[in-house]
Structures are given as structure tokens and as C-alpha cells.
């Protein structure tokens, strides 16, 4: 277990220092100063970050299109209460990631690899790379869809996404990266603004809190809805990201309470903004989802413009650009952390590219590969975007199982191990996610090979 004692008692030799240590200690000195002087709000400001970024990063392009699509096709009923329930599930998972990162000062990938063996570590990294690549393609698609509203093409989407990655990586400091992405992530609130602009019936939103009406349609459609909506709230990259980012930020067991505030704030904001996208999409319900059918969500801004005015369309388009951009940054970062951790080399924003070349190369490389895919003429981009969440849901249970195992590992966590109640909820979440993902996968496969009809 990590020591909660101060590092260096006078007279005790320190380990060799690296530039990463110096950068992190600079951030920690501000935290300690704020804590000593009881500057509560400043302390909170210093310690928030990984939780909000994980949650708002998951309010990405495909997720917001999925919420808006749910609203356009099924209305508000069921989804208004279902989205907060899913983010409550996400909080349970992400709180564990934050806690393990703060106590062990290590990322998820390296802990799984070292604690349970290379096979499990590399399997996890493989899952992550696959889902991240697919999701990153979907993020570039999201930016492209938003830019198309302003008559800009794929090339601009690629340049914008890659320029953002390069800009945020250029500082050589975790703090700088985190604050830039945090600033961008707050624009996820554009979806709430879009919801206000469509002038929704507030009584209808409140009335939908009783989970009714339940979405109609075939069993497979229902499973797809569940799997894609779950995949819009909890995914493997969030697990890798929040644990590694908490460690990279330098969080310690004394920061766990603030880490919980950070994660809870992220979950609440993400749920509100997600419901914003749902409400905006529901404005199209009375028009039979016009504008989205046949174009699989790409026409949302245009459809909203026709139904609720130019302002709503513009705000929604800007929201899609923001959602895609933030997710590109956080998902690329999670890939980079996993790559560095599994290879066993430096993996920190506080290291320079020369010292953490695997980390920086993976960060930029995975974004570059996804960007290249969207430039391929005729690539099935929208199908990729719609299936990204489902694939993440299917692969998620394994990551969650290891997360619960790590959070229960007394050798690593000491007194910070999970409580029984956390384990019970965590296991229920794994079972629910696994059941939904597997049911959709199996049912769709049987339909595809005509074993059922």
C-alpha cells in the first residue's frame, strides 16, 4: 500500500529524481499549500480533473448522437431516468479507478500486467486499442458531421483534431494538458443549451422520470438501445484513463475525498448534458425523426435547424465538434498511458517526448491512424460510429472485473479496499453490462446467420 507519510524525512536520501518527479512535486506543493491554509475552493480547483474529464470525455460524439437518436425515435420516456442511472453506475466504476490510482500511484494497465501476469495485461491493452481506434474514428466522424453544418469537409476535421492533439502534447506538463482539455470539456454544456433552444415541455421531462413509456420495437432493437446507451456511459478507456491520470496528477490517499467530488461532479454534469442531447433530439420526435432516418444521425444539426431554428442547429453542431475533440484528446491519452505502462517505459505528460517517446508516439499515432481512416473514400464511417459504443460495451466486463479485483487487493490498497456495498454494486454493474452486451451480440449474430428471425 502507498505510504501516507511525507516523502522525505530530513536526512533520508531520496531516490534519483527525474523531470517527472520535479514537475509533479511542483503541483503537489500547491495542493499542500492550499490544504495547510484551508483554502477549500482552491484545493478543489487543484484536485478536480480526471473524474470530470473521464465523464465528459465519454459524452463524446457517438454518445451524444446515440442520446439524440434515442430522443428522436422514442421520445423522453425511459431515457430521462435511465441516463442518470447509467452515470451512477459509471461513478461506482470510476471512483474505484480514482482510488486505486491515488493509493498505488500506478495506472490500470501496469497493475493488471504486474499483478496478474502479462497475458491479462496485454489482453486488456488489446481490447483498449481496438475499442479506442474504432471510437476515435467515430470522434473524427462527429467533428466532420458538426463541421459539415458549416460547409466544411473531412480535411478540416482531420487538421483540427490532429492540431489539438499536437497542441495539448506540446507543453510537457500534466497540469497544462488537463486544464486545456477541462476548459474544452465544459463546452459539452452546449447540448444543454441546444435542449433549451428547442423549447421543450418541462412537464414532459419531469413526467418521464417514471421510466415510461418503455421503448417499443423488436427485442434486438431494444438490446441495441441498451447496449449502445450503456456504451455511451461506461467504457474501457475511461477505466484506463482515470486511474492513470489520477496517478499522473500525483493524487494520494489524502485526496480521495476530492477525487470523489471530482468524479461525482463529472457524472452529474455528463448526465445533465446527455439528457440535453436527448431532449434536443426529442424535438424531432413529432417529425418522425425526420432528417436522421437514412443518414444515421449525421443530419441532426440540419434537422434541428428545420424544426427548432438555426440557433439550435448551430449549437448542436458546435456541441458535436466539441464532443469529438475532447474525446480525441482523452481517448488518445488513455491509449498512450496503456502503451507506456504495458511496455514498461515512461508514461507521463510530465515527461518530455524524448524520455517518454512510446507515450507520446502512441498518443499522436492512434489519433493519426483514426484520422487517416476517415479520409478513405467510401469508408463506412457512420456504421463504425454507431457500432463503437456496442463494441465497448461487449469488451467492458473484463476490464471491470480486473478493476474490482484491484480495488479489493489488500496488498495494494490496504485500508482503502472496497467496502462490501461497493463490491455488491460493482458486481451488479458488471453483470448488467455483460448481460446487455452479450445478449445483443448473440441475438444480432443469430439474426445475421438467419438462425432466428
Amino acid at each position: 500500500m502507498a505510504s501516507t507519510e511525507a516523502a522525505a524525512a530530513p536526512g533520508l536520501a531520496l531516490p534519483p529524481l527525474t523531470e517527472e518527479d520535479l514537475a509533479r512535486s511542483h503541483d503537489r506543493s500547491r495542493v499542500h499549500h492550499a490544504r495547510r491554509h484551508r483554502k477549500r475552493w482552491y484545493l478543489l480547483w487543484l484536485l478536480v480533473g480526471p473524474g470530470i474529464l473521464a465523464m465528459l470525455g465519454e459524452n463524446d460524439g457517438p454518445s451524444m448522437i446515440a442520446y439524440a437518436s434515442d430522443g428522436a425515435q422514442y421520445g423522453l420516456g425511459f431515457f430521462v431516468p435511465f441516463i442518470p442511472v447509467l452515470f451512477a453506475m459509471a461513478y461506482i466504476c470510476q471512483e474505484m479507478c480514482m482510488r486505486v490510482g491515488a493509493v498505488t500511484h500506478r495506472g490500470y494497465g501496469e497493475l493488471v500486467l504486474q499483478r496478474y501476469g502479462r497475458v491479462w495485461g496485454w489482453f486488456g491493452a488489446g481490447d483498449l486499442t481496438l475499442t479506442n481506434l474504432v471510437t476515435l474514428v467515430a470522434e473524427f466522424v462527429s467533428i466532420r458531421v458538426g463541421l459539415a453544418y458549416f460547409h466544411l469537409g473531412s480535411g478540416v476535421a482531420v487538421v483540427l483534431g490532429l492540431a489539438l492533439v499536437a497542441f495539448t502534447l506540446s507543453g510537457g506538463r500534466y497540469w497544462r494538458w488537463e486544464r486545456i482539455v477541462l476548459g474544452l470539456a465544459l463546452f459539452n454544456g452546449l447540448f444543454l443549451l441546444a435542449a433549451i433552444l428547442v423549447k421543450p415541455d418541462v412537464g414532459g421531462i419531469v413526467g418521464a422520470l417514471d421510466f415510461t413509456p418503455f421503448p417499443g420495437g423488436s427485442f434486438n432493437t431494444l438490446l441495441l438501445l441498451l447496449a449502445s446507451t450503456i456504451g455511451a456511459t461506461v467504457t474501457p478507456w475511461m477505466i484506463f484513463f482515470q486511474q492513470s491520470a489520477s496517478a499522473d496528477k500525483g493524487m494520494t490517499p489524502s485526496d480521495v475525498a476530492h477525487g470523489r467530488y471530482d468524479t461525482a461532479a463529472g457524472a452529474v454534469l455528463a448526465a445533465i448534458f446527455g439528457i440535453g442531447a436527448l431532449v434536443a433530439g426529442a424535438a424531432l420526435l413529432t417529425h418522425n425523426g425526420s432528417g436522421i432516418q437514412g443518414f444515421a444521425g449525421a443530419g441532426f444539426p440540419e434537422a434541428l435547424k428545420r424544426v427548432a431554428g438555426g440557433a439550435a442547429g448551430t449549437v448542436f453542431a458546435l456541441g458535436l465538434i466539441e464532443a469529438g475533440a475532447v474525446a480525441i484528446l482523452t481517448i488518445s491519452a488513455s491509449t498512450a498511458y496503456a502503451a507506456g505502462e504495458c511496455v514498461g517505459v515512461s508514461h507521463s505528460f510530465n515527461s518530455s517526448p524524448g524520455n517518454a517517446y512510446v507515450f507520446y508516439a502512441a498518443n499522436a499515432g492512434v489519433a493519426l491512424v483514426a484520422a487517416v481512416v476517415i479520409l478513405i473514400p467510401g469508408a463506412p464511417l457512420l456504421s463504425i460510429a454507431l457500432n463503437a459504443n456496442v463494441l465497448a460495451t461487449v469488451l467492458l466486463p473484463v476490464s471491470l472485473v480486473f478493476m474490482v479485483m484491484l480495488a479489493n487487493d489488500e496488498g495494494l490498497m490496504g485500508r482503502w479496499v472496497n467496502k462490501r456495498s461497493t463490491n455488491a454494486i460493482g458486481i451488479a454493474v458488471i453483470a448488467f453490462v455483460g448481460l446487455c452486451g452479450a445478449s445483443y451480440g448473440i441475438d444480432s449474430f443469430l439474426l445475421s446467420v438467419h438462425l432466428i428471425s
Binding site: 536526512g11 531516490p15 518527479d21 500525483g250 469488451l395 445475421s448
Partner: protein, 84 residues
């Protein structure tokens, strides 16, 4: 990269040097005091001990892994099938 900065001991040992450390070195020393010992890169670079999983736990993990791979293949097949 190992920075050339000296250790805390070198600075805090009263027998070492009567000249005060250079301002930037002093600054780094005070900053480093804010890190917990197990936060240093040198400490986190050491691998944690391998956990011993029971045969049942290992079997369950493999069963879950095989199941997830199979379902993923089904999802990918369905995705490709829908493209045709």
C-alpha cells in the same frame, strides 16, 4: 532522465557544505518534499509483486475472456454483414 539535482540528504546534512544551495536547487528540494516516497518514478518503476490467483479464479477469468472474445467476433461479424 536522471536530473543532476542532488539528493535531499546532501542539502540537509549539516556537515555538507556551508554554502547555501543555489536558489533553483533549493526550490526543487522544497518541491520534492511534497511528494510521497512511493510517488517517485524510481519507486513506481519497481514492479508490484505478482498475486497468486486460485485455480478457480484463473478458470473463471479465462472463461470470461473466451466468452467476451466470442461475443466480440459476433458483433464484428454482424457489423460486416450489415455493410453488405
Amino acid at each position: 532522465m536522471k536530473a543532476p539535482a542532488p539528493t535531499i540528504k546532501a542539502h540537509r546534512d549539516p556537515l555538507v557544505g556551508e554554502t547555501p544551495p543555489a536558489p533553483h536547487e533549493r526550490f526543487d528540494d522544497e518541491m520534492v518534499m511534497d511528494l510521497e516516497r512511493d510517488q517517485f518514478v524510481a519507486e513506481t518503476s519497481r514492479p508490484v509483486a505478482r498475486a497468486s490467483l486460485s485455480a478457480r479464479a484463473t478458470s473463471a477469468l479465462w472463461a470470461l475472456r473466451v466468452f467476451v472474445v466470442l461475443v466480440s467476433l459476433m458483433v464484428i461479424y454482424t457489423f460486416v454483414h450489415q455493410l453488405r
